[in-house]
C-alpha cells in the first residue's frame, strides 16, 4: 500500500465533509448549518407590489399641507386651494405676496412652479415623479424590514425583486395567528395624521355627501370603533407621522393599552402653534384613515407628545407601536404571490424525502456491491463521501435546502455512480483485452475521463440555467444538483483513482478479478 496525492486529497475532502456536515446532521448549537427552505420548515413567502402612484399623490398632499402652514404663519391669504394626484393650485388674494410664496415654493425639490398673476400652481417634474416612485419602493422595503426586525422572528428576509417588487420570506412561522399578525404588520400603512375638525360645518355632517365635504376642502372620516360615528375634518392635515420620533405602548389610568408618541422639533412647533390658535375646537387623531379619538383642545399643547387611545389588545397595541416607529408606508402594498406552508406539512415532506433518499441510496449501494464486488465498494465509498460533501458545502455557503433540493440529492445519488460505472466498465474491458493491472487501471481512468467530463459539464449547463432562471424552491434543486455534480467529480474520479492506486499491488498479487471487479479470470 502506497500513499499518493489523490488519496490524500480524497481523505482531506472526506474530513472536510464530515466536519462541516456534522452540525447539520446532529443539529448542534454551534457551527454553520444547512438552512431548510420554507417548504421544509414551514413559513411564509410573499411577493409584494407597491402602488407607487399613490406615493406621488401623498407627496403632493404633504406639499399642500406645508403651503397651508406657511401661508397661515405669514398671514398670506389664499383662495380656491385645490390639489389632485400630481399638482397643487391656489389663488393669492394679494399679488404682493407672490414674491414670498414663489421663494417658498422654490425650495420644494423637483417641483415646477408657475406664478401667473394671482394664480399659483405647482406640479412635480417627470424625473421627480420617477424619483418619488423609486423612493416609495426603497422606503417600503426599509420600513417592512424594520417592522419585521422588531417582530421577533429569526432572520426575516426582505429584498427587492425586479424594479418595484418586494420579496418577503418569513421562516419559522408556527401558527395561523402568527402569520396573520405578521401580514397585518407588514401591510399596515401606519399613516398617522393629526387633523382639525371642521367645527363650522360639523353639525351638518349627517346630511352631507362625500362630494359636498370635498367642495369645502373637508373629508368625512369614520370612527375606528364605531363606523356609524363620523367626523368632518379638514382634508389637509396639520401634521403627519413623518414628524414622529418615537412611539411606544403604554397604559391609560384604567389600565387599557394605548400608544404614546412624540414629535420632532418641527412637528412640536406646528402642533403647539395649532393648538394655541384653536382652543375649544377638536383635534382628530387619524390613523390609516380612521379617527381614533377627537379630544377637545383645552390649551396650547407644547412639548410635542400625544396619545392614541382606542380599544385594542396589548398585542395589537405593541404591533401598532412597531409600525408607527418604523414609519409609514408611503405607498400601499398589494399581494402578487404568496406561498404559505404549515410546519406539519414541512415535517411530512422532510420525512417522505428522507425515506426516498435512504431507500434509493440502499438500492444503489446494494446494486453496485452485487454487480462490481470490491469495485462497487470503492464506488460506494465515493458515493457516501459525496453526500457528506454536498451537505458540508451547502452548510458552509449558507445554501438553502428545499424539497426539490432533496430530490436533487436523490437524483445525484443515482447519477454520481455513473462515473464509477463508466470507469469500472473501462477497466473490465481492458482486463479482458489482457492488459496488465496497472495499465488497465490507468488507461481505464484516462479513457473514461473525457466522457465523464463532457457529460457532467452539459448537465451542469442545464443546472446553471435552472439556477439563473428558476425561482424559490427550484433554485434549491439547481444548487444541490450543481454541488452534487462537482463533488462527484472529486470523489468518483479523483477519490476512487487514489484508492485503486493505493491497492494496486494488492490487486495484482491476488489475481482475483472476481473479487475485485466482479468478473471471471
Amino acid at each position: 500500500m502506497k500513499l499518493n496525492y489523490r488519496i490524500v486529497i480524497f481523505a482531506l475532502a472526506i474530513v472536510f465533509g464530515l466536519v462541516f456536515s456534522m452540525p447539520s446532521i446532529l443539529q448542534t448549537q454551534e457551527g454553520k448549518k444547512v438552512t431548510l427552505g420554507l417548504d421544509l420548515q414551514g413559513g411564509l413567502y410573499m411577493l409584494l407590489g407597491v402602488k407607487t402612484d399613490e406615493a406621488t399623490a401623498s407627496r403632493i398632499k404633504s406639499i399642500a399641507a406645508s403651503i397651508k402652514h406657511f401661508s397661515e404663519k405669514k398671514d398670506i391669504l389664499v383662495d380656491s386651494f385645490k390639489f389632485n394626484k400630481n399638482s397643487v393650485s391656489f389663488a393669492l388674494l394679494d399679488t404682493d405676496d407672490s414674491k414670498t410664496i414663489k421663494e417658498f415654493l422654490g425650495k420644494v425639490d423637483g417641483a415646477k412652479v408657475v406664478v401667473d398673476g394671482e394664480h399659483v400652481s405647482l406640479s412635480l417634474t417627470p424625473t421627480e415623479i420617477q424619483k418619488t416612485k423609486k423612493q416609495a419602493v426603497d422606503q417600503a422595503i426599509e420600513t417592512i424590514r424594520n417592522r419585521l426586525d422588531q417582530f421577533g422572528l429569526t432572520e426575516p428576509i426582505v429584498a427587492r425583486q425586479g424594479k418595484d417588487k418586494i420579496l418577503v420570506q418569513l421562516a419559522g412561522i408556527k401558527t395561523q395567528e402568527e402569520e396573520q399578525r405578521a401580514r397585518e404588520l407588514i401591510s399596515r400603512a401606519a399613516k398617522l395624521e393629526l387633523m382639525a375638525v371642521d367645527e363650522d360645518r360639523a353639525g351638518r355632517i349627517n346630511s352631507m355627501s362625500y362630494a359636498d365635504a370635498a367642495s369645502y376642502g373637508d373629508l368625512i372620516l369614520e370612527d375606528s370603533n364605531n363606523p356609524q360615528i363620523k367626523y368632518l375634518v379638514h382634508e389637509i392635515p396639520i401634521l403627519d407621522g413623518g414628524m414622529l420620533t418615537n412611539a411606544s405602548m403604554g397604559f391609560d389610568k384604567n389600565n387599557r393599552p394605548l400608544i404614546n408618541f412624540s414629535l420632532n422639533a418641527e412637528g412640536a412647533e406646528i402642533f403647539g402653534d395649532f393648538t394655541g390658535k384653536n382652543v375649544g375646537k377638536r383635534l382628530a387623531v387619524v390613523l390609516d384613515g380612521k379617527v381614533y379619538s377627537a379630544p377637545n383642545i383645552n390649551e396650547r399643547i407644547g412639548g410635542g407628545s400625544g396619545q392614541i387611545s382606542g380599544s385594542y389588545t396589548v398585542m395589537q397595541a405593541k404591533d401598532l407601536a412597531i409600525a408607527l416607529r418604523s414609519g409609514a408606508l408611503l405607498a400601499p402594498i398589494y399581494l402578487m404571490e404568496k406561498r404559505s406552508v404549515g410546519p406539519s406539512l414541512g415535517a411530512d415532506s422532510i420525512k417522505a424525502s428522507m425515506v426516498a433518499l435512504i431507500g434509493g441510496f440502499v438500492l444503489v449501494i446494494g446494486f453496485m456491491l452485487v454487480y462490481y464486488r470490491m469495485a462497487g465498494v470503492i464506488a460506494n465509498i465515493a458515493l457516501i463521501a459525496n453526500l457528506f460533501i454536498i451537505l458540508a458545502v451547502m452548510a458552509l455557503f449558507g445554501a438553502t435546502l428545499t424539497l426539490p433540493g432533496m430530490a436533487g440529492i436523490v437524483l445525484t445519488v443515482g447519477m454520481a455512480v455513473d462515473a464509477n460505472v463508466i470507469i469500472s466498465e473501462r477497466i473490465r474491458e481492458l482486463i479482458y483485452q489482457g492488459n496488465s493491472m496497472h495499465k488497465a487501471i490507468e488507461d481505464g481512468y484516462s479513457n473514461a475521463m473525457r466522457a465523464i467530463l463532457d457529460a457532467n459539464i452539459t448537465t451542469l449547463i442545464a443546472a446553471v440555467v435552472l439556477y439563473v432562471y428558476g425561482t424559490g424552491a427550484i433554485k434549491g434543486f439547481a444548487i444541490t444538483m450543481s454541488i452534487g455534480i462537482l463533488a462527484s467529480m472529486l470523489t468518483a474520479i479523483l477519490g476512487t483513482h487514489g484508492i485503486y492506486q493505493m491497492l494496486e499491488s494488492k490487486i495484482q498479487k491476488s489475481k482475483n478479478n472476481r473479487f475485485w471487479f466482479g468478473i471471471k479470470g
Binding site: 406561498r339 406552508v341 406539512l345 448537465t459 449547463i461 428558476g470 427550484i474
Partner: protein, 323 residues
C-alpha cells in the same frame, strides 16, 4: 456479475429504421395528445390559488363544495383528494391582492363547520407573476438547449450537436405528451424535471458519442455504421446500469417521496426511459444519416495533429534558443 459480454457486436443500426418509425409515431401521438388535451397548467404558470387542507377524518368533499358555493369568489373551484382521503387540495382560478385577508383566509373561513381541519398550504400566484414565470420557464428551456448545443458542437462536431438536440426534442416531446395524457399539473417542479431530463438524456447521448468519436479516431474502419454498433455495444452495460440506478432512486422518490413530489418524479421516470432509448436509437442513427464522413474526419484530425506538432516544434526551438 455481468449483464453483457463484449464477445459480439449487436447490430443496432440494422434495427434503426424500425426504431425511427416507432419514435416518429410516439412523438406524433404526443403532439396529438398535446393538441387535443393540452397541458394542464398549474397555478405557477396560469395564476390562481391552491389551498391544501387536511382533516382528521376523511375529507367531506361534498360538504366542502356546498360551503364554497356561498361566496362567488370560489366560482369554478375544484376539490380533489391529495395523497390520502384525509387530505384535499382546492384549486381556483381567482386570486386576491390584499395582504391581510387573502383568498386562503377566505377559504379557511368558508370551510367552518365541515369538521376539524388544518390548512397546510396556500399558494397564491397573481396573473402577472404567472405569465412572468411562464416567460422565464420557456427562456430557461431555450437557453439550456442552446448552451448544450454550443458545448457539444465545440467538443465534438456540428452533426453530433444537431443529432443530440434532435434526441432532446424527441425526449421532451414524449415526456410532455405523457404529462398531458396523465393530466399532471404543470408547475415549476415539472419544468425543473424537464430540464433535468435534458441534462440526463444528453449525458447518455454524450457517453455513446464519446465512444463513437473514439472508435472513429482509433480505428481504420471507415464504415460508420459498424463503428456505431461497436460503440453502442461497448457502452451498453454502462447505459443499462446507470439508467437502472437512476431509475431506482427516482422510483423510490415516486413511491415514497410524498404527493408534492409526485409530478416531478413521474416526469423524470418517463424522461429516464425515453432518454436512454433515444441515445441509442435516435441520436446515433441520425449521426449516420447526416452522412458523417469518417474519411474527411480522419483528414481533419491528421491536419490538426500536424499543426499541433509544428507548434510544439516551434516552441521547442524557441525554448532551446534557436530562434
Amino acid at each position: 456479475m455481468e449483464f453483457f459480454k463484449y464477445t459480439r457486436t449487436f447490430n443496432f443500426m440494422g434495427k434503426s429504421k424500425i426504431a425511427i418509425v416507432f419514435s416518429i409515431l410516439l412523438v406524433l401521438s404526443s403532439y396529438v395528445v398535446l393538441a387535443t388535451k393540452g397541458l394542464n397548467y398549474g397555478v405557477d404558470f396560469a395564476g390562481g390559488t391552491v389551498v391544501q387542507v387536511k382533516y382528521d377524518k376523511p375529507a367531506p368533499i361534498d360538504e366542502m363544495r356546498a360551503k364554497l358555493k356561498s361566496n362567488n369568489i370560489f366560482d369554478g373551484s375544484s376539490i380533489s383528494e391529495f395523497g390520502s382521503p384525509q387530505e384535499v387540495v382546492i384549486r381556483m382560478k381567482t386570486t386576491t391582492g390584499s395582504v391581510t385577508t387573502d383568498i386562503g383566509d377566505l377559504t379557511r373561513k368558508s370551510l367552518k363547520g365541515t369538521g376539524n381541519y388544518e390548512v397546510r398550504r396556500v399558494d397564491i400566484v397573481g396573473p402577472k407573476v404567472g405569465s412572468e414565470l411562464k416567460e422565464k420557464g420557456i427562456m430557461s428551456l431555450v437557453l439550456a438547449v442552446m448552451g448544450i448545443l454550443i458545448y457539444v458542437a465545440f467538443r465534438f462536431e456540428w452533426r453530433f450537436a444537431v443529432a443530440s438536440v434532435v434526441a432532446l426534442v424527441h425526449d421532451v416531446s414524449i415526456s410532455l405528451g405523457a404529462i398531458s395524457l396523465v393530466g399532471i399539473d404543470v408547475n415549476l417542479d415539472v419544468l425543473a424535471a424537464i430540464l433535468t431530463i435534458l441534462g440526463y438524456s444528453l449525458n447518455d447521448t454524450i457517453i455513446v458519442f464519446d465512444r463513437i468519436r473514439e472508435g472513429i479516431t482509433n480505428s481504420r474502419n471507415v464504415n460508420l455504421a459498424e463503428t456505431i454498433n461497436e460503440s453502442i455495444t461497448r457502452t451498453l452495460a454502462r447505459t443499462t446500469l446507470t439508467s437502472l440506478t437512476t431509475f431506482f432512486v427516482v422510483f423510490t422518490l415516486f413511491m415514497f417521496g410524498g404527493e408534492i413530489i409526485h409530478a416531478f418524479a413521474f416526469t423524470l421516470l418517463v424522461g429516464i426511459v425515453v432518454g436512454t432509448y433515444s441515445s441509442i436509437f435516435v441520436a446515433s442513427p441520425i449521426l449516420l444519416w447526416f452522412g458523417f464522413d469518417v474519411k474527411n474526419y480522419h483528414v481533419k484530425l491528421a491536419d490538426k495533429a500536424k499543426r499541433e506538432a509544428e507548434k510544439n516544434k516551434m516552441r521547442a526551438q524557441f525554448e532551446s534558443g534557436v530562434m
